[in-house]
Symmetry: C2
């Protein structure tokens, strides 16, 4: 644990978080806007392009891929089924499993939207040199990995507070 953190580092950390927030927010906005042209929502477009890429998958797998809970995806698929973009097909081997499949209409729309939702970010990232891109990736994954271990430890502990208390009052 670092002993004394200079406060200008804290400022930079804030700015990093700000930048992350901005980029994420913007990525959603862009996806959404792109989707609107096809009368879709952001998540629906994501699902459509995903299915186009990998073929039929189960609902759980879909949830994993788009990092959402099953209960969330159930709703998304409900609405997409209502719009005749996908169909549910009960698996024959394991009857608990539901496979999600593109309909012809769904496949056609996926084809029509040739742009990857994240295209803008590709463009933006192109403003970095290959070396910079690699550096960025390295730094981000390093941070991500670190977050992951902290979170893991946290979840495992589950107790009173494994957090490194930030010198604030904690009594009551």
């Amino acid at each position: 644990m670092p002993a004394a953190i200079p406060s200008d580092i804290k400022l930079e950390v804030d700015q990093v978080l700000e930048a992350l927030l901005y980029l994420y927010t913007e990525s959603r906005r862009v996806t959404k806007e792109l989707a609107r042209k096809a009368e879709l929502t952001g998540p629906q477009l994501t699902v459509l392009k995903l299915l186009e890429g990998v073929g039929d998958i189960s609902l759980s797998e879909l949830s994993d891929r788009i990092r959402a809970q099953n209960s969330t995806v159930t709703g998304i698929i409900d609405r997409m089924e209502r719009e005749d973009l996908v169909v549910r097909a009960r698996s024959t081997e394991d009857r608990r499993v539901v496979h999600i499949r593109l309909t012809d209409k769904g496949a056609r729309i996926a084809r029509e939207i040739a742009v990857e939702p994240m295209e803008i970010f590709r463009v933006a990232l192109d403003s970095l040199s290959p070396g910079e891109t690699r550096d960025l990736l390295k730094l981000l994954t390093k941070v991500a990995r670190r977050v992951q271990t902290v979170v893991k430890r946290d979840v495992a502990g589950e107790g009173p507070s494994p957090h490194p208390r930030p010198a604030g009052r904690s009594k009551e």
Copy 2:
């Protein structure tokens, strides 16, 4: 525009996006978890700490700060008012504006949650050297700025498609 983009760059870009998504998702999860200890939701905790920091502000300003629409914040404030965490106070100079103010209860809870929601990320970012942190910030802001200009141009155009069409059919 770079002439030929090697496909391993594309892969790295994907990974960068993946990392961004992960970090953002995780930050929300952590905030939420922290908030739960005080019977709050993530956004509510954010608002509480923000008000604690800057004092009374108008609803619009609040919306700006947390990057949400007014209509979203209206709902959040509704629920917080219901829980007696904040009060609305109509401005006397301009009777259109509503100032949001912490109640004693709200202020107390804000004080009790000494941990900044983003603390975990501070910890994670501490695993980078000061130089690396600065590099990360530099790269992220560079990308963010680039995204911003692309988006701006996009919005300004508003027309058929200022996007660099990716060789897909665009009719119909």
